[in-house]
């Protein structure tokens, strides 16, 4: 028994020595965390990181800068939106219910037509209807946390106090995201998934930035339509609801967002829209 204990003690000491050396004798380098795949970890976020997230969404996933940029002039620049929100809310044309700047910005994102800055409305509506899509739906599909992050970012940018609280708990619309990546079975699903309706009038959606596609099949051939989806700048339509259409307006990455089958479905759907 004594031999047994001695042997066990010896072995354990050796193991402990190795463990100790590996833990304390050499530098512990923490390997880099796996690259982020658009995953929100709100629990451990500081306000700075939250604002940085808003920045990222504003310039990336949210596709906000597609229109809200100083160059294209398709939508107002939002640098000071948080500070002038109160003015907008006092405007006679304001239809919303917001009481604070934060609420105003959120409302503008979810119901863009609540207030349309003069000159930026859908043509012919006398600035009562906004061409902007609801950011919580369609291809943009921001969840509540993401919207909050964007608000925080905008408030920060305007130099006003950031009133948004970092939401606690996981983002609410986890399933939605999955639905969006699933393969669409009907043209309506596909249009909703890709967010075509943000700009185009198509499949029951009423976007007002790009050409109306409800009767496109009457004027365009299949090849033209397919090319227009894959390479939007190959042909530019002459007339968009907000004025002449411009190159570079439509994102070029739709070809990466759908499968071959989906593309064919969409093209066929448009060809048949007469």
């Amino acid at each position: 028994m004594k031999t047994f204990l001695k042997v066990v003690a010896f072995s354990v000491v050796v193991i402990l020595f190795y463990a100790f050396y590996a833990s304390y004798g050499i530098p512990q380098i923490k390997p880099e965390a796996p690259p982020q795949e658009e995953k929100l970890d709100l629990g451990s976020m500081t306000m700075y990181q939250f604002i940085a997230l808003g920045d990222k969404i504003f310039n990336g996933k949210g596709t906000c800068t597609l229109c809200h940029n100083p160059v294209g002039g398709r939508a107002p620049v939002l640098d000071s939106v948080a500070s002038i929100a109160l003015e907008h809310m006092k405007d006679a044309r304001y239809k919303g219910k917001a009481k604070t700047a934060e609420e105003y910005i959120r409302e503008s994102m979810l119901e863009p037509s609540a207030f349309v800055v003069a000159g930026f409305g859908v043509k012919g509506t006398n600035d009562t209807e906004s061409p902007m899509p609801n950011v919580a739906t369609g291809a943009i599909g921001l969840n509540e946390a993401e919207i909050d992050a964007v608000i925080a970012y905008l408030q920060k940018k305007a130099g006003t106090e950031v009133t948004v609280k970092i939401p606690v708990g996981a983002p609410a619309k986890e399933e939605k995201a999955e639905a969006a990546t699933a393969i669409a079975k009907t043209p309506d699903e596909l249009v909703a998934k890709l967010g075509c309706g943000a700009c185009h009038k198509i499949a029951g959606q009423v976007g007002a930035l790009g050409p109306d596609l409800t009767k496109v099949g009457a004027v365009r051939k299949e090849d033209y339509l397919r090319r227009s989806v894959l390479d939007p700048d190959a042909d530019i339509a002459k007339q968009c609801p907000t004025g002449p259409c411009a190159a570079g307006m439509m994102p070029k990455d739709y070809k990466d967002k759908m499968t071959a089958g989906e593309l064919e479905m969409l093209v066929k759907f448009m060809v048949n829209s007469k």
């Binding site: 530098p27 512990q28 380098i29 923490k30 880099e32």
Partner: protein, 255 residues
């Protein structure tokens, strides 16, 4: 006079310790860092003990002074003195370990971290696995042109890099001392000599902030060079670095 084995062991250990300390620290002026010296000494001690104890008599002889000290009733006084010294020493070491001190924490960073497989610079995406220096081919095809390119690379180097990496490419430029970590020493066999050109391109184009976390991007003073110089200039400066140091970029082709 025959010295006891225990004493011999102690003397031998002392000799090795002195060798490491004096030969490296004083003669070569390149002291061994204490962390490494500790490990060296550990194995030297183990080795000496193994050699002195592999025969039965040897082991007995080695242990006999200790055994004697522990067991001999006549040495009670001596025993106590040794015990007290040992415990005071242990206490002193503990004190030194836990007292608050201004010794800055060690900062460890991987000097050559693993590169990503792709990275973006100059609004392009590069695949590091296939990326090659477009000018390298001239070394064989057009040596004159190659020479000019190397010289142009030198110009880039001396307008941008040498403040830190030094006239001698040894990482001892004018501003080097002000930085921590110190700028890379290209003359050392452990730096560019071990790397591929694509790796250098990545490091130059994306600079300190392009490093992965284990390489502590927050303290690297390497600028993001894509903001200041062109893609071609980077490739040229890489040519220059290898030409000046005489190293050959590493490649994975079988020669």
């Amino acid at each position: 006079m025959k010295i006891s084995r225990l004493l011999l062991a102690v003397i031998l250990i002392g000799i090795f310790y002195g060798f490491f300390k004096i030969f490296f620290g004083v003669v070569l002026k390149q002291p061994i860092p204490s962390s490494l010296l500790t490990m060296y000494m550990f194995f030297v001690v183990v080795g000496i003990l193994l050699v002195l104890s592999f025969t039965e008599e040897g082991a007995r002889e080695l242990m006999s002074p200790i055994k004697n000290l522990l067991e001999n009733p006549e040495k009670k006084m001596m025993r106590m003195v040794v015990f007290v010294i040992v415990s005071v020493l242990a206490g002193y070491i503990t004190y030194n370990q836990i007292k608050p001190s201004f010794e800055a924490p060690l900062e460890l960073r991987t000097i050559h971290p693993a590169p990503p497989s792709n990275f973006s610079a100059f609004n392009k995406t590069y695949n590091l696995l296939t990326l090659e220096n477009p000018f390298r081919k001239y070394a064989k095809e057009d040596p004159e042109k190659f020479k000019t390119l190397v010289y142009e690379g030198g110009e880039v180097y001396f307008k941008n890099c040498f403040y830190c990496h030094g006239d001698k490419l040894d990482g001892q430029g004018h501003y080097a001392q002000g930085f921590n970590p110190l700028p890379a020493n290209f003359m050392d066999v452990g730096t560019i000599a071990q790397l591929q050109e694509s790796y250098l391109f990545w490091r130059i184009a994306t600079g300190g902030p392009g490093l992965p976390k284990e390489a502590a991007p927050w303290i690297s003073s390497m600028p993001v060079w894509q903001n200041f110089i062109t893609e071609e200039e980077i490739w040229k400066v890489i040519l220059f670095l290898y030409d000046y140091t005489g190293y050959v970029p590493r490649s994975w082709e079988k020669h």
